[in-house]
Amino acid sequence: MMFNPVLLIAIPLGLAFIAVIFKKIQKWILALGIIVNAVLVFFVEKGETAIGGFKIPFGISLVLDDFSAAGVILINILALAAIVIAFKKAEKFAPVILAGLAGMNGMILTGDLFNLFVFMEITAISAYILSSEGRKPAQSFNYLVIGSVGSVFYLLGLILLYNQTGTLNMVLMTEKTGFLEQTVLLLPVLLIFVGIAVEAKLLPMAGWVRGVLGNSNSYTGVMFASVYSSAALFVFGRIFSQVLVPGTTVGIVIITIALVTFAAGQASAFRSKSLRQVLLYSSIAQSGLAAALFATGFVFPAVLVVVNNAIGKLIMFSAAGSLEEKYGTDDYIGLGGAFNKNTLTGIAFTIAALSLTGLPLLFGFYAKLNVLAAYLNQGTFFVPAVVLLGTIVEGAYFIKILIKLWAPGKEGEWADADQSVGDKRIFSYTGTIAVILAAVLVVLSGLLPDTAGKLIAPEGGLLGDDGPAISLLIQKGGDQ
């Protein structure tokens, strides 16, 4: 039995409202909602679903093609994993998390640009509230201001497109903007880019990331670095590789910004001393890489990068947040030797770090290989050089961290002295199991890359011979 994809949005939303009524049992409602969604996501009907029963380009519709299917599966599974790792921290935000999940599913599924805006606002507001867990109100405020400016820009770009095309539907928008001149499209596309760049953590709008992620705990860190950022990148991919495919000028601007983000992120990560700061700059860098790939039209390698980053950051941020809570510092020199007492977590962290770097036999290698192959097939050599250089820097700082965390050295005495206090495990049993499972997933998918690729894109690549999925829908629509 296949279900209507709108349930992926309606169920968590309804449960969020119910959780407010029955506050006493809200944590069980949260668990129920997340689990139901994580199961349901495999049983939803593909295709375009109208809402309200109005003919498709005029009413709001949801689009579930290979691309958004990969997106919602990733998001709902990640949300489940994040809850399992730190249920205690999540439960007091139950309605916020449920509504946020509905928002993210909506962002990825919707086929309407204004509906996308509404869901982006839902997601953003749930993120603002979660960021208040960091107990740094000035940083949350900063995030809120940048987010609000971004959403004004998005709305401005959107309304300019609406004025030209008379539609808000993505498929119809793609068709109609095809007839417009590049000069007319230039400003709206850039404005929409800036609006989405806030959540996707791209450079001009990434000012919030340091304050929010640098103060994250084992739950919020995972949510921001892994779940929210994957959702935002999937939206970025939908808009800039399928709906508003940028012309040459705008394309070069966007790709340049994305690559600068990648380079700046890797460089800052290399210079940082705090574990969470290294990770957050590495997240910015990965977002930049994925955005550059999406804007060039390499959808499949971009999705691989997003998935690799999401799983890796899930493991690493939950470990980093827990280490900080346990030892009261996240300076990785101060944490020296911490993994000796948390062997399993340490192994998972190591696998995640090596996979992000792109070591052979891990999933990250397959992702990087696809990235480079895509560019080299196209005959571009400059971008692969930047990517390779970034990878070397990335490898350098991750190996530096890993060595410190496994082998304390002289500066690490502080952590050793602390070891007698309290129990040594940083996670609950379920948390450890979840992290280990994620790491096993990375290894397995690295050993069997073709199977993993098939899982992500069942019909031989998201950008097969027929072009992006959404244009397939246009063709199908034309046949009717």
Binding site: V118, E121, S132, F141, S148, Y162, N163
Partner: protein, 112 residues
Amino acid sequence: MIKFASLLLIVIGLYGILSTRNVIKILVGINVMEIGINIFIIAIGFVNGGAAPILSVDNPGSLLKFVDPVAQALVLTSIVIGLGVTALGLVFARKIHKKHGTYDLSEIGGES
């Protein structure tokens, strides 16, 4: 003319956000920007000589010239979203004031 003025409002709001470190004034700037974009959307949806989009005794038939109802619906949504964001921003502002005793971000220092 109003289109032009609403764009100026967006620019003025942006200046307001960039030129101050006082959290309340930053929120005022955001609100100015939002009012600007709302008026701009309505102005985009306006049609010369169009009636308000309500069927009534005066404008009884749907073949008459009406202004764009979609733009107005979008603005209604955007106004309500703006209220929500402003309320949340003000609570953050109160938290900042409670923690640091000031509304001025420049007095707080970089790391907090």
